[in-house]
């Protein structure tokens, strides 16, 4: 995890297809999310991603406005980003990104 010199470097998550790093372990808000294909993590921030068009989507927790996120390099669909939540209890998700667990791999 860290380098031999003792500096602690954050764990990175990368796109499983091309290895482009997309998020840090420190940015995980929740590991309990579900996508159609399995487990997913909620990140407060993700990098090297591009957003798709916004759309209304009915998720397990209710209606949200989300946009799909894609890897910047290879274009693989990695998850989605919450743009707006209609229910007040789901407001904390706005602006955060969900990445599917099987689409990302942990790097050093």
């Amino acid at each position: 995890m860290g380098e031999a010199r003792g500096r602690v470097v954050s764990r990175l998550y990368s796109c499983y297809k091309c290895g482009c790093c997309v998020s840090l372990h420190d940015d995980i808000v929740s590991k309990q999310f579900q996508s159609s294909n399995g487990r997913a993590y909620l990140f407060s921030h993700a990098m090297n991603i591009k957003m798709g068009p916004k759309e209304n989507r009915q998720l397990i927790t209710g209606l949200h406005i989300v946009c799909d996120v894609f890897c910047l390099d290879c274009g693989e669909n990695l998850g989605w980003k919450y743009e707006h939540a209609f229910e007040p209890t789901q407001k904390y998700k706005e602006g955060k990104v969900v990445l599917e667990k099987y689409k990302i791999v942990m790097d050093m």
């Binding site: 297809k17 091309c18 290895g19 482009c20 390099d73 290879c74």
Partner: protein, 391 residues
């Protein structure tokens, strides 16, 4: 048909011409309707039309769209159709069954009777074909020169059979055959010593070691999206005759370390190298390759974020024959790197460059000023043109 009066009183007509004269006449007919009319004249002329046919393909070959294979415009080709067609056209040299998704292995068994003259066979997307089918192909078509069975469900055993029987193979396409491993590839390279071109794209189980000891005739290899190992890359170039190499989208954990071996000397004849999306290729590999492959004419380094200043300077200094360079979306191509390329690569003709976030517009303008001979293009080429005979 005229009746000519020859001395002796006998009359001759076109029906007295021998078959090979009629075949010559048939070969000059260049309208499909004329050829059909020729064949409808009588049984003998029908026979001549049939034995003159050299190539056969079906409409489903041109509509292979993987998302809509369930919709077909005509009847699907099955075993009975194929047996009657092969019995009718017995001198076929080229047969394309691509897109015939319903064809079973038993359909290919007819090749054992009628396939002896077949040289080119295309079985792409024949989802019903398995190792048994390849065994039929091997035993029935010994003079096969090029075969393609992309996306078929075949294993190493089918490939071994094919390689043992068809030793004169020059080209093979086995992309997306995920069950093929290095054992099958080894059989192929051991038995087919004249093999020129192999495409193993997306064959996940091939690590490259099957190519060890391949003959120097292997000049073209497409191994993109494979999980190649370090020893595998060394084995791939071990033949010594490689001229075109595509290892883009390297999906393995070697992280670009083994690629320096390409410059070790065995691949000194390399002309085209595609490293697109090998994001971990480092400067030491680039330096080794640019030194070891002096004849390189086209190099695709799109999305190779690991190439930094010393890499670009090495390319500029050593790649004297480079004509085309792809640097789309390289995150570590900065103004200094572009300046190095501007001062080197004397024969550069085309530079594919787009979305390089560290390049400033003034650097691009400076490049255009000093190197007016270089055409800068913005498109990102997904697959570099690698010449093939067949597909």
């Amino acid at each position: 048909m005229e009746e000519l009066h020859v001395s002796g009183g006998t009359s001759t007509s076109i029906m007295h011409l021998p078959d090979d004269c009629l075949m010559l006449i048939f070969s000059w007919l260049n309208q499909y309707s004329d050829r059909e009319s020729f064949g409808l004249t009588c049984h003998r002329w029908f026979h001549i039309q049939n034995i003159s046919r050299r190539a056969l393909q079906f409409s489903c070959s041109f509509q292979v769209n993987l998302t809509s294979l369930s919709w077909r415009s005509g009847p699907s080709i099955n075993s009975l159709h194929l047996s009657r067609l092969l019995a009718r056209f017995q001198h076929l040299q080229s047969l394309s069954l691509s897109g015939c998704t319903e064809l079973p292995d038993s359909g290919l068994s007819h090749l054992q009777l009628y396939g002896s003259k077949l040289r080119y066979l295309n079985l792409d997307c024949c989802f019903g074909i398995t190792d048994q089918g390849l065994e039929f192909v091997g035993s029935g078509c010994p003079s096969l020169v090029a075969i393609s069975f992309s996306r078929c469900y075949v294993n190493d055993s089918g490939l071994e059979c094919l390689a043992k029987y068809c030793t004169g193979l020059l080209e093979m396409n086995l992309s997306y055959c995920s069950f093929i491993s290095d054992n099958g590839i080894r059989c192929l390279t051991q038995h087919c010593r004249e093999l020129r071109s192999v495409k193993i794209s997306h064959c996940r189980r091939v690590a490259g070691s099957g190519f060890r000891g391949c003959s120097p005739s292997l000049s073209c290899l497409e191994a993109d999206s494979c999980k190649l190992e370090m020893e595998g890359i060394r084995d791939i170039i071990s033949g010594g005759g490689l001229e075109y190499l595509n290892i883009s989208s390297l999906m393995s954990h070697i992280r670009g370390q083994g690629l320096a071996q390409i410059g070790s000397g065995s691949a000194a004849g390399l002309i085209i190298l595609d490293l697109r999306m090998c994001r971990d290729v480092g400067d030491d590999s680039i330096v080794a390759i640019s030194r070891g492959c002096p004849l390189l004419e086209e190099w695709n380094l799109s999305l190779c974020h690991g190439v930094k200043i010393s890499g670009w300077e090495s390319i500029a200094f050593h790649c004297g024959n480079l004509k085309t360079l792809h640097v789309n979306r390289c995150r570590n191509l900065c103004d200094r790197g572009l300046q190095a390329l501007q001062q080197g690569c004397k024969h550069l003709a085309v530079l594919y460059m787009s979305l390089c976030c560290r390049i400033t517009p003034s650097a691009v303008e400076l490049f255009k000023l000093y190197r007016g001979d270089v055409e800068i293009k913005g498109e990102e080429i997904m697959s570099v043109g690698i010449p093939h005979v067949f597909y």
